[in-house]
Symmetry: D3
Subunit: 139 residues, 6 copies
């Protein structure tokens, strides 16, 4: 299995609902350093998993919808805690949609699975990974 | 699959038995920067894999049994080389026990697999990963 | 010159006033990974710059006043943009006060200069460094 | 599953053929920081995945064939783009050959899978991972 | 003294002349992860050292002249070894020119010194730092 | 001012005397990831601060005297706590001796100052820096 991983970041505000979050129930924020890994079994004719430039642009476009925002006010997260796990999943789903739209080029349809990891500090991270395609079985 | 990863560290002394270890057969030591990844298929009602605070406390408690110790004198490692691999496994097993005791809260029982990685320098690391639960099939 | 550096972090929300900040004028947030370097010319009788444990506790106490907060609502920053530079300076000043109170132990008075660095992402950081003591000449 | 990971690096020149590569079609170069992960289900009698020293030497030997080279002139890559993915695969294959030759010692035959990751910058990496053995099923 | 540091990178080919360079006399290449630190004694009215966005754009523009190039063919480095040190200095000088042209905004003239660091691998880096202004005394 | 920085590491055992060290009074150990920065005002005729290969070899030789050792038994540290600060200084002094012996080549005499930093974990480091030459004034 081959993969490529690209890194970008967002800076967001939010608050979390539920006693498990302790002081994080107050409005605070985070820098999420975002790593996205794209995986496929074989390389294309150019010898790549996917066009790195298009992948980076697609990721930047997905992140733009969250960057410099207060996630408490984002309709996309209504009635949902914007935990690092949930934001990782949202970025994952939007990248899947970008692949479906063809934003990553023809190679996008060859991607078999992705992993989105958000580093929220030097000591904590969360990720969401799954196979793509009709079945979307757990990875 | 969702995951969260937390980081902590320990500073230990030990020696290793066997010619394969060369100069590491002498008493020396290591800082192990420890990453623990907790994985599960779905998030709980709060939108998390597990309570990050409880996970960090459980890890700190497990590490306290090794931190600032000479592992050559620890009964837990009698007749065993305390290689980075072996220490990774020991931390893994103690975290499983902590989960079984409920130290990570009710969400602990939903953890499907864990990965414990010990970085012993900027150029070397070891890890142990396995599914949890009755079967404990290799991961 | 000897130094020790310790690391911790905070997660804050804020907004910045002024067209230079572009989209960062909206309420957003940041994780600041905070490095503090304490410098002095000679070591104490124990062979250290300062008690690492007390320094870490003092830093944690200083950071607690900012952690999980919306800095827009903090009186300490009234009429001030809470840029990374300004927050670095605020942490610096509060550590100086902690040293003056003796929170870092008797060795605190031997600290000649400090540098506080806030990493706001994998591609940007800000710092404030200065000599301590009556003169406080620029460092 | 246990694993160990070791790190080394190479510095190469190359150019890439195909419009997808944009400015990278010109002769340029890269530092590849190379991480190799060796995985097996159980530890040997010494408590290790594999002899770390021999693994590091084998990796260094494999990398020596690429280090300080212009990959455009290497027969091993004739008619092939030397993308990060392709170079990761080439290093993987040569490590498999080294294991087959016994360069990693008797423990080499117990390695079940490997993952080779090349970090080409602070924001991009590529990897190749696969099971070893007769079947070599995708990993 | 305040500072901000920003990071970007370039990927270049080159060869080095002189027996001291050993195998690096052959055509090879490097990824340089570039950190630029801008320092000044006081913040501007917005609370910043310099406009981070303009600084990042100016750095990207300076790096574009080197990125994806064979430095052996660049007139700017004729009769000069393009060591990491020399490239660090070249980036420094071009950033000084950008500041002089006003590319970093009015705050650029307040920058007292800069430090340019090029990380060429996980184990080696080079830097050039100097005061700005008429005197340009060593820093 | 130009500089180059190289990285290597050692793994040592030791104990520290004095109540300030708390649990670190027991025999334990550390991995020290060692960064050495060599600084000089001008480059040599080859365009370098110093021969990187010779510097790396000299550092490796200096570290070999500490690596895989119990520092409590090293005569060099008799009656001295082997704190991270003290070990940083010892490495510094031995590198100065190596320069004096000519181990770093003729360029060694042009080195104006050095900084030795020991990272003992992901959250703590210590360093010693000083000008070289007859005066050795504090840096």
């Amino acid at each position: 299995m081959y993969s490529i991983t690209i890194r970008d970041h967002i800076m967001i505000a939010h608050s979390l609902r539920g006693p498990v979050f302790g002081p994080a129930q107050k409005l605070h924020g985070a820098t999420y350093v975002v790593d996205v890994e794209f995986r496929r079994a074989d390389l294309d004719a150019d010898g790549i998993v996917i066009d790195l430039g298009r992948a980076a642009t697609a990721l930047r476009d997905v992140l733009a919808a969250f960057n410099y925002r207060n996630l408490d006010e984002e309709p996309a997260f209504a009635n949902q805690n914007t935990t690092t796990e949930v934001v990782a999943r949202a970025i994952f789903d939007r990248l899947v949609a970008a692949i479906s739209r063809g934003d990553l080029g023809p190679g996008g349809s060859a991607i078999e699975s992705m992993r989105v990891t958000l580093h929220e500090s030097h000591v904590a991270a969360a990720s969401f990974a799954e196979r793509l395609g009709p079945s979307r079985a757990g990875l």
